[in-house]
Symmetry: C2
DNA sequence: TGTACATCAGTGAACGCGCGTTCACTGATGTAC
DNA sequence: TGTACATCAGTGAACGCGCGTTCACTGATGTAC
C-alpha cells in the first residue's frame, strides 16, 4: 500500500498483482475474479485493462513473478553445489518447501492455476530456469553414483520434485481435511533422506 | 446411457454423477457446473434437486464413489500382504497410479475439488478405509526393518502417498504444459524402488 | 512563470451471459379396490 | 379389468447475482514554447 493519489493510483499494476495473489491463495485459482482484485486495489474493473490484457494475463503475471522468485531462491540454495553436492541438494529441497510456505499465492498460480508454461516466451524461460536448478543439482549429485547404477538425472530430479510437490499439496496446505500427522518439513526431509540413501548417496547406517 | 422414457428419466441420479465426472475431468472441479451436468444428462437444472441437495452435494457424491472404488482397488492390490509384504506394497503403489489413470474424474473430485473429507460421516468412513490400506501396507512392510531404524508407519505411508500424488499431478496429467520426460508408471515405480532401498527393504545391488 | 495541448490512467454505465436455486405446475407411474 | 387417486420425477419460468469485457468519457499529469 503506497500513497494514493486520488484519481491516479500510482502503481496499480503492482497493487493488482498483489491483490490477485492474496485472492488466489484464499479462494483458489478459479475462485479468483478480476473484479474482486480490482475492488481490493480500490479501482474499477475496467481499470485493469490499462495494465493487463484480461483475467488470464493477470494470473500469468502472478505466476511469472512466482517463477522468478522461485528460481532465485533455488539458485541461492544450490550455491553452485558448495560445499558439497549433497548438502547443496538438501538445501534445494528445503528451499522448495520454504517457497511453497512463504509464497502460497505464487505457488498456486504456478502449479494449480492451469496456465500453460508455454503461454509466453518469458514465462517459459523463467520456468525452465527454475526447474533447471533442480535438475542441475540432481546431475551434480548423481556423479557420485557408480555409472552403471546411476539413474538419469532427469528422473532423479523428477522424483524429488514429485515428492516435494506431493508433500506440499497433501500436507502443507490442508486440502481435503487431511490432518497432517507430521510437520511437512520433517516429512520432506526424511523422505528425501531415505531416497538419497536408496541411491547410495548417504551411508546406510546414519 | 440407458433407455430414455420420455418424461421420466429412469436413472437420473446415476446419469448426473457420470456427467459430473466427465465434466470435472475436462474442466476441473471449479469449472464444473450443475447446469451443464443437467444438460448433459438431458434434463432441466431444476431436476437435479430431486436427487441432490445442490452442486456441492453432487461433487461430494462423485468423490464418495471414487473413494469407494479406490479403497476396493487398494485392498485388492494389497491382498492381505500375500505373498510377501514387499510385493504387496509395490502392487499397492501401482494400483494408486492405475486408479488415477483410469478414473481421472473421480481422482480430481477426491483430491482437487476442495470438498472436505469430513463433509459427511460416510465420506469420512470410506476415505479412512482407503487410506488405511496404504497405512496397513506400510506397517506390515516396516516390520522387516530393525526396530531402532524403523520410521513410523504413518510417515512411511505419507512419503509414498506424497510421491504418488506428486507423480500424478505433475506428470500423469499434463498440468502446466509439462512434457513428462518419462512415463509416469516408470517414474513412480523407480521412485518407490529407490525409496524402499533406502529403507533397506531391497538389496542394495539389485 | 504561464499557458496550450497531448497523453495517460482512471471512471461509470452498459452489455450479454451463465450460474445456482426456488416455485408452482404437470405428466407419468404405481396401487387399492 | 377398470377406475380413482396418491405419489413421484420431471418442467419451465423466474429470481438475483457477479462475472469479464467494451466504450465513450474525463480528470490528472507532463511537456513544449
Amino acid at each position: 500500500m503506497v500513497k494514493k493519489r486520488g484519481y491516479h493510483h500510482g502503481n496499480l499494476r503492482t497493487a493488482l498483482v498483489e491483490a490477485a495473489l492474496v485472492l488466489i491463495e484464499q479462494k483458489g485459482p478459479t475462485g479468483f475474479t478480476l473484479s474482486e482484485a480490482a475492488k481490493t486495489a480500490g479501482v474499477t474493473p475496467a481499470a485493469v485493462y490499462r495494465h493487463f490484457e484480461g483475467r488470464e494475463d493477470l494470473i500469468a503475471e502472478a505466476a511469472r513473478q512466482g517463477y522468478e522468485i522461485f528460481a532465485d531462491l533455488m539458485e541461492y540454495a544450490f550455491n553452485g553445489g558448495k560445499p558439497s553436492a549433497l548438502t547443496a541438494f538438501e538445501r534445494v529441497g528445503r528451499a522448495y518447501l520454504a517457497f511453497a510456505n512463504k509464497y502460497p499465492g505464487h505457488y498456486v498460480a504456478m502449479f494449480e492455476s492451469g496456465i500453460s508454461i508455454q503461454r509466453t516466451p518469458e514465462l517459459n524461460a523463467v520456468a525452465t530456469r527454475a526447474l533447471g536448478v533442480l535438475e542441475r543439482a540432481a546431475t551434480e549429485l548423481s556423479q557420485h553414483i557408480p555409472e552403471d547404477r546411476r539413474p538419469p538425472a532427469q528422473m532423479f530430479s523428477a522424483h524429488i520434485w514429485a515428492m516435494s510437490h506431493g508433500v506440499v499439496e497433501l500436507f502443507a496446505r490442508g486440502s481435503p481435511g487431511t490432518k497432517s500427522p507430521f510437520p511437512p518439513e520433517d516429512l520432506l526431509e526424511t523422505g528425501i533422506g531415505i531416497y538419497l540413501r536408496g541411491l547410495g548417496l548417504i551411508k546406510p547406517d546414519t
